[in-house]
């Protein structure tokens, strides 16, 4: 029953979300809503002294959107902008794959659990909402190269 969608990893991140709700010196934030269901997320971005990514998030929504925020935070915090961009692009490609892509676990780690989501068009937005907020906050903060902004291709 929907095990392809609700992988154990997703349920675990939903029930035990990782990451933090605040960072000390956010450079920018982005608030995104899914107007069809009312889900909301705010993502703050900053950088540490070595220029590595800091992320905080807060939101409400379904298990897919909440778990995705948690996985995103765990994957990307502490990454350089270039490393983060690679992961962000890979996740977007996975979500657009209609279930036909075999995700690279080396790059996406826990995020491979979302492969099944790409087969449910109504849920892709749930999985992407926090990633879209992050990309928007990165653009606002200037902490990104063009390739890191989701939806844009070099």
């Amino acid at each position: 029953m929907s095990e392809d969608l609700y992988q154990e990893i997703i349920l675990d991140h939903y029930k035990n979300p990782r990451g933090v709700a605040a960072i000390d010196y956010p450079l920018a934030d982005s608030h995104q809503v899914n107007p069809t269901c009312g889900d909301e997320v705010t993502v703050w971005v900053g950088q540490d002294t070595e220029g590595r990514l800091q992320i905080a998030y807060q939101g409400q929504g379904c298990s897919i959107s909440q778990a995705s925020s948690s996985v995103m935070s765990e994957l990307l915090v502490g990454k350089t902008p270039e490393e983060a961009a690679k992961i962000q692009t890979a996740f977007l490609e996975l979500m657009q794959s209609k279930g036909l892509l075999d995700p690279d676990e080396e790059v996406l780690e826990d995020a491979v659990a979302f492969a099944g989501v790409s087969r449910y068009p109504a849920r892709i937005k749930c999985a992407l909402i926090s990633w879209m907020a992050l990309a928007d906050a990165q653009i606002k903060s200037g902490l990104t190269s063009d390739s890191a902004s989701l939806g844009r291709k070099e």
Binding site: M1, Y6, C37, G38, C62, S63, I64, R123, C126
Partner: protein, 426 residues
Amino acid sequence: MSLDVASIRADFPILSREVRGMPLVYLDSGATSQKPSVVLDAERHFYETSNAAVHRGAHALAEEATDAYESARSIIAGFIGASPNEIVFTKNATEAINLVAYAFSNASAKYRHGHDVDSRFVLGPGDNIVVTEMEHHANLIPWQELCAKTGAELKWFGITQEGRLDLETDPIDHNTKLVAVVHQSNILGTINPIQELMRRAHENGALGLVDMCQSVPHMPIDIHATGADFAMWSGHKMLGPTGIGILWGKHELLNSMPPFLTGGSMIEMVTMDHTTYAAAPARFEAGVPMVAQAVGLAAAVQYLETIGMENVERHEQALTEYLLQSLRDLPGVNIIGPDSTLDRGSAVSFTVDGIHPHDVGHIMDSQGVAVRVGHHCAWPVCRRFDIPATTRISPYLYNDFADIDAAVNSIVKAQEFFGVVPEVAG
């Protein structure tokens, strides 16, 4: 069962299909209803035998098509006890509400430029429009926009904790020009006291509009007895096709309104610098209209009349009572809206402790049960109850108790899957 559901179901081809390897249990009729074969056949028959543009052309097909279109108008008018010249075809109910909103907007703009318009449709600062907190966005946003354009103020009735209209919060006063209210809430299921609300509107010199999208498909309506000046509903929620909605209005009022969409078919006389308009309903039906959809909707109306709307209403009441009882018996499930069948329709919203409505809907879908999740285009209602969204079960004449059981079982599956089955005391 007051209806022979098995024989009704046989009229709906889609109800015999499977989804995700399970028999389809369709409980999303509040969003759109399924279509019986007679509706599909009527549309096909029209295209195969009489298709032509209506109200133009001198050939036999044009005459037959015009006759089919106007016959459909008469049949649909008769369904609510109205006259055919009070029925305007629109693309959907949303357009019908906007048509009335634009009558106010256009009359107000023309008035400022010295045109002769009916003062009942002229709005400005100091005037107000009254709605309720339980409106569908389609009966809220057009009035927000109208107020922004004219300087009028938007006011509203609140909602009680039980999900009823709070009549104590009545904001109607002598400056009210329009009271626009929903008959049956699409998210709460609440049936509002329309006659009383229309009485209050008229006492204060205001016009009254009723959104009947969730009432006309589900209960007998005598439109003049409601006291409304305008009402609207959609074809697709009452077994008819998409692409057609109905605006009902008192003929005298319709003839006092400036047009909404302008162009062909809606004119009386045209020169290069001036046009006079046809009487209603033609005034509001610019361009070649949706003839096949009108024919299909008339077939849907006749199908419902054969069954009898009293029987449809009684059947839905029985299903709703059973559904409310079943949900009440489920620990961890909260009904959002009236918890009895008194002044309540069959759309039942609920939340499940510990599971987001989207996840509830998804697990239900994996069991073949189709329901609606989200804010149901009534976001202020979710804010009122401090919830992000709900899951909604909305049965119709083709559902039976077994469908309700399937839905309830699938909710329990969702609780088990997410590990949130509450412990029952004792």
